[in-house]
Subunit: 203 residues, 2 copies
């Protein structure tokens, strides 16, 4: 029916244990799903050659970043190798209110933070076909020591237990199948009546 | 991951105003979606030649039917041209507990009854592209009087207001698109973490 319009965009958060292939899945989704936007993160690290502020990242000083943490302007944030990274709440809210759907990939801890800040976000948990397979993937792509890899596998095992706090689970055995599954989730979430703008009641 | 299993099947209820094309959509879905079963209704009408009890319908006497109404053994029921029709709760529960997903098409009143009896059922509201189009469809397929058709259009207008009690809405402008949209909904619902069997906690 004409007149059936969504209230606002949807935030899709793709997470799961380290090594499961979150970024490959997200990259493919952004290519294939019309109307799906990428969320630009904020960071305190130096811009690399060719990186544009507001496109690749919002670049800021550590002081600016920490001030925004204080004022609750990050949906989540974390420190990695001495630099701070975060998802700016204001940017995400603006995109959503303009009706854009946003997809992002993020570590489990960040996903949990986002769900607390924005319960209407749709959390998708990518699972490996098995822990053996996940370990093999971590080994294949890592230049880390055997010990460091074992540590990441242990962490992944703990993270697997977080699946029950998510909205959907998708197995990433084959990239194509995982992408198609998430496209179904995005398609269905876009058809939810609860996301419709309700007609204003006039008496 | 191995070990991620759904607790039970899902009941998909396809409804919407009279004339919107519920049955065409359901017929196509049952052909195309693996693991989707048809729900067998009960009725007090005489079996027609070739109809098999338990396959086309569960045939029963009016007394048997009314006794089951009394004991709450119908998810919904209604009278149509002097015969009673209903969805047997026991049959549906058995199929779902065996892990089968069920799809059925039903009038809005019946859909509302089912949601009350079984809140975990997934209600999908089929909408026409416009009320003008719905009226045209009712006119095209009906042998009724102009007056009877006007009455059905009025009823459809009231039923359109019920959309906000549903889980999903799908526009049936083009049958192919509507079927694809519902396939996304079925696919996504099958990936919901809340439908997973939780591991039993042992201490």
């Amino acid at each position: 029916m004409h007149g059936l319009k969504r209230e606002r965009g949807i935030l899709f958060v793709i997470s799961g244990p380290s090594g499961v292939g979150k970024n490959s899945v997200l990259t493919q989704l952004l290519k294939e799903v019309p109307g799906l936007c990428y969320s630009v993160s904020a960071t305190t690290r130096q811009a690399r050659k060719g990186e544009v502020d507001g496109v690749n990242y919002f670049f800021m000083t550590r002081e600016q970043f920490l001030e925004k943490v204080e004022t609750g302007d990050f949906l989540e944030h974390e420190e990695y190798v001495g630099n701070l990274y975060g998802t700016p709440r204001g940017y995400v809210e603006k995109e959503l209110s303009e009706g854009c759907d946003i997809a992002m990939d993020i570590e489990c801890r960040g996903a949990a933070q986002i769900k607390r800040m924005m319960p209407e976000a749709v959390l998708i948990f990518l699972t490996p076909p098995s822990m053996e397979e996940l370990k093999a993937r971590l080994l294949a792509r890592s230049t880390d020591s055997q010990e460091a890899i074992e540590k990441r596998v242990k962490k992944a095992e703990v993270e697997m237990g977080e699946i029950y706090t998510y909205d959907y689970y998708v197995m990433n055995d084959d990239l194509r199948t995982a992408v198609e599954d998430i496209k179904k989730i995005i398609g269905a979430e876009r058809l939810k009546v609860s996301r419709l703008k309700r007609p204003s009641v006039t008496k």
